[in-house]
């Protein structure tokens, strides 16, 4: 049972600063010792429409958001209309007193707190847009949360804007706390800061992945902005000079992937962050990387498709596409982190895999994980564990030991030498002993174009063979929950969080009701581990955020086994524990 499990939700129009203030409040609550799960929800527009930010807090680690709302901060009437039905008994709505909330919108058991939000924001801060900060000040007061933490975040976030802006925001927040006083007695939920909590971090999935990639030696990033992958490009652009990363906003996704392959060809660890539509454009180039055995890492933060789909929403629709993308057959890794910690780990391991096996590593996150803020322990991202392993990349010494081509009878370097493992010793351009031409055509060991039958078979077999026993250093599938259970839920990627909480709640009802299997690495498919796991499984229910059941299809294709049931969600929203529980039967 989670203690002090509360959700504060702030809603309004796009352009009201909900994302930044929501993220700021989430940070303040983390500094105040809470575990926080913050989730923005926004339409694909810059102004107008309806956006909201949900901040769930608890005194124990959170892995998911939840549906019940305890405090709604409504910057417009639309927010009341859309969310009042989610508020628990005893909860409250803070709204601008100049709005007239009609009777039919109100709910029994939900308190209404009208406040002069606009007037106060203008009076105390000078601008109506500061209503978001004001509203969060109100929330701070109602919850009994120490405003000093909010102040510290305001000081950090507005540091670059100058003291006047900092002071204005501090004043507005303070005014919000004051304005909450008359209502505090009518609001039963408290969230007092935990004074002796150890310092923790709060970040979203995109940031976690970017940190892992940087730690793992990523030094070249090329991308084209596409929601929700763009923040990874922005993150690297912001850290490029300090950490020595060449970061390129390219003219299009096709340029981005080809630049990254060019970078990988000469020996840079390269990354292309994108979303599904961008990945679609990159598909041909994946084959270039595959056949020339050039490492590259692509990060697809999935969103609902097809085509433009729903740019600011979430889905898990690209699994089978990613496993099979590009014409012909060549190996690749497909990894799908389930948590922020796993996004970090996969962030650095992807580069070892790509270089170690000289092939693309394709990472599948999704909007939900990419944008969700979660509090983690200070050492939850294990930087000490990071290793940079370049596989069969020839060292300077090994290159020097290759035959000197200026000597008569010298054997030229064979970039695509057929070895027992299938992995060829890899040179990068620049050394006089390693001069060769790679080609996107099928080629012989030297890299020359070859259409000969025996050679073709040998090279295809080599590329296939190199993946045998490929160890991605991740446990996939991994178990959560009791060793034996009536129902085994099966999921992949970001479904982990909401499902983990659903499993916990089921087991609180009765121990042994449920456990779960999570796949974070899907290709090459972990056949043995999966078969072993399925032997232990109860009734199997696959849970995934797509309509065709792609993991289920993959499981049947690889293991020959059908699963017992499935729960899908493809309305552009992520799973919640409640969604899963209500469909469990």
């Amino acid at each position: 049972m989670l203690q002090n499990d509360l959700t504060i939700r702030i809603g309004g129009e796009a352009g009201m600063g909900l994302e930044s203030s929501g993220a700021g409040f989430a940070k303040a609550l983390t500094r105040g010792g809470f575990y926080v799960f913050g989730l923005p929800d926004y339409y694909s527009r810059i102004r107008g429409g309806h956006n909201f930010f949900s901040i769930r807090i608890a005194r124990q680690p959170l892995y998911s958001h939840a549906e019940p709302v305890h405090l709604l901060l409504a910057l417009d009437l639309e927010t009341v209309r859309r969310h009042i039905g989610k508020i628990v008994a005893g909860g409250a709505v803070v709204y601008d007193e100049k709005e007239d909330v009609p009777e039919e919108l109100r709910r029994p058991g939900v308190s209404m707190f009208p406040l002069p939000l606009t007037a106060l924001a203008e009076e105390q801060g000078g601008r109506a847009i500061m209503r978001n900060t004001l509203a969060l000040g109100v929330a701070t007061g109602l919850l009994g949360f120490d405003p000093a933490y909010v102040g510290s975040v305001i000081r950090d976030n507005f540091a670059s804007k100058g003291q006047k802006v900092i002071d204005a925001n501090l004043q507005v927040a303070e005014a919000g706390v004051e304005a909450s006083r008359p209502f505090q007695a009518d609001f039963p939920f408290r969230a007092e800061a935990v004074s002796d909590a150890p310092p923790r971090m709060i970040l979203n999935g995109n940031e976690a992945f970017a940190l892992g990639a940087l730690a793992g030696g990523c030094r070249f990033v090329a991308a084209y902005p596409m929601t929700p992958g763009s923040p990874v490009l922005h993150w690297f652009a912001a850290h490029a000079d300090e950490y020595g990363v060449v970061t390129k906003h390219a003219e299009d996704e096709i340029a981005a992937i080809n630049m990254a392959i060019g970078a990988g060809y000469v020996g840079a660890r390269s990354l292309v962050p994108t979303s599904g539509g961008g990945f679609s454009l990159m598909v041909e180039a994946l084959g270039l990387a595959g056949i020339t055995e050039t490492p590259v890492v692509v990060y697809n933060a999935q969103r609902p498709g097809p085509a433009t789909g729903m740019p600011t929403r979430t889905e898990q629709g690209d699994l089978l596409f990613t496993i099979h993308a590009s014409q012909g057959e060549f190996p690749r890794f497909v990894l799908a982190p389930g948590t922020h910690e796993e996004s970090f780990r996969i962030g650095w391991q992807a580069f070892n895999l790509a270089e170690g096996y000289q092939t693309p590593a394709l990472i599948l996150s999704d909007h939900y994980l990419a944008v969700a803020y979660r509090t983690v322990e200070r050492d939850a991202l294990d930087f000490d564990e990071v290793q940079i392993d370049r596989g069969a990349l020839l060292t300077q010494k090994e290159l020097d030991e290759l035959e000197d081509p200026s000597q008569a009878e010298a054997a030229p370097y064979r970039r695509y030498r057929v070895t027992e493992s299938g992995v060829s010793p890899r040179a990068v351009p620049g050394h006089p002993n390693a001069v060769w031409v790679s080609t996107a055509n099928e080629h012989d060991e030297y890299g020359a174009v070859s259409e000969e039958a025996a050679n073709r078979t040998a090279q295809v077999d080599k590329r296939t063979r190199k993946m045998e026993g490929a160890d991605w250093n991740l446990e996939s599938p991994s178990w959560y929950g009791p060793e034996e259970a009536e129902t085994t839920f099966i999921c992949w990627g970001s479904t982990y969080g909401p499902l983990r909480e659903a499993v916990d709640r089921l087991n609180e009802e009765r121990q042994g009701k449920a456990n779960m299997l999570h796949f974070s690495a899907l290709h090459p498919f972990p056949l043995e581990a999966t078969q072993a796991a399925l032997e232990q499984a109860g009734r199997t229910v696959v849970i995934e955020g797509n309509s065709t059941g792609q993991l289920e299809i993959l499981l049947r294709a690889r293991t020959g086994r059908s699963m017992d049931d499935a729960i899908h969600r493809y309305d552009g929203r992520s799973f919640t524990p409640e969604y899963i529980l209500s469909r469990c039967g």
Binding site: T30, R31, P199, R200, M201, I202, L203, E207, L214, A215, G217, R219, F220, A222, A240, G244, V245, V246, T247, K248, A250, E251, I254, A255, N258, M259, I261, G262, A263, G264, Y265, V266, G267, A268, S270, E284, A285, L288, T292, R378, L381, F383, V386, Q387, I388, P405, P412, V428, P429, G430, H431, A434, V435, V437, S438, T439, A440, N441, A448, V449
Partner: protein, 290 residues
């Protein structure tokens, strides 16, 4: 000392007898020898087409990539190792159709690349379709009634977009072409050489006998100053009885893309040591999210 035997390839070209690519291949080798650039000191990136097989026919570091993506791959390579010379060699279909966008952006960025376009005004490898530089009205399998699009003007486009080295070459003037390539190699930025490449199999109207009578060297043209951008732009449209070859435009050097990237100030990216983060860096990164 680099000699021409250093570049001797093992494979015989599959080009037709009389193909302009033989001359282009030889002039590239001549230029590299003259400028003392060894096979491992240059990366030749090509796309897809008859001419894109060029690096296979010499001893050099090469990357024979995807149709149209030549300059994108080359850009990634150059930005990751600007200690390596980068040359792109590709045909008009690769450079001016499939790769037209990457061409414009490469010019804009001014990444130091020698871009040699084997412009035979036709599609050779795929057997004779019209190309972006084919003249309007050309009859080919994809334009049996005569093409109705007007050709791309690559030299004018390069000048307009801000290229500081724009030239046209011709393999029938092999020393001149070698000299142009050498000048381009020395140019501190993106350099374009569009080469009038005769295709004896699919474009016999524009073979050596056509060009021989028409080409003239701008270096021998009285009063022509390649520093005059406007004159160069106008010259780029000159065609017909007189076809100018040589350096149309050589402008004042501007910074290359790579010299403006702070991450590269310490040297080529791939030569900077690749290490895990120091603990002070880890602390700084953690502090950002606490």
């Amino acid at each position: 000392m680099v000699t021409s035997s250093d570049f001797a390839g093992r494979e015989r070209p599959t080009w037709c007898t009389g193909c302009g690519n033989y001359g282009i291949l030889n002039s590239i080798k001549m230029a590299l020898v003259e400028h003392n650039i060894a096979p491992h000191e240059i990366l030749i990136v090509t796309g897809i087409g008859c001419g894109s097989k060029l690096p296979h026919y010499m001893r050099v570091t090469g990357y024979h990539t995807l149709h149209g993506r030549t300059l994108a791959v080359a850009t990634g390579a150059r930005l990751s190792n600007h200690g390596l010379r980068i040359m792109t060699v590709h045909g008009d279909g690769d450079a001016y159709n499939e790769g037209l966008s990457h061409f414009v952006h490469a010019v804009r960025r001014n990444v130091r690349i020698v871009d040699i376009v084997q412009d035979n005004r036709i599609y050779g490898l795929t057997k004779g379709q019209y190309s972006p530089t084919s003249e309007r009205g050309k009859q080919t399998p994809t334009s049996p009634e005569g093409s109705i699009d007007r050709p791309v003007q690559p030299l004018a486009l390069a000048i307009t977009t801000g290229a500081t080295f724009v030239a046209r070459g011709y393999p029938g003037e092999i020393r001149h072409l070698a000299w142009l390539i050498g000048e381009a190699l020395e140019h501190p930025g993106y350099a374009l050489i569009d080469v009038l490449q005769p295709c004896v199999t699919f474009n016999r109207n524009y073979a050596y006998d056509y060009y021989r009578e028409r080409v003239y060297k701008l270096e021998e043209e009285p009063g022509y100053a390649p520093s005059d951008r406007t004159a160069a732009w106008e010259k780029a449209f000159e065609w017909g009885d007189r076809i100018p070859i040589g350096i149309l435009y050589r402008g004042e050097s501007i910074p290359t893309y790579e010299e403006q990237i702070p991450a590269l100030a310490a040297g080529p990216l791939v030569q900077q040591p690749l290490k895990t983060l120091q603990s002070s860096q880890v602390e700084a990164l953690r502090a950002e999210i606490m």
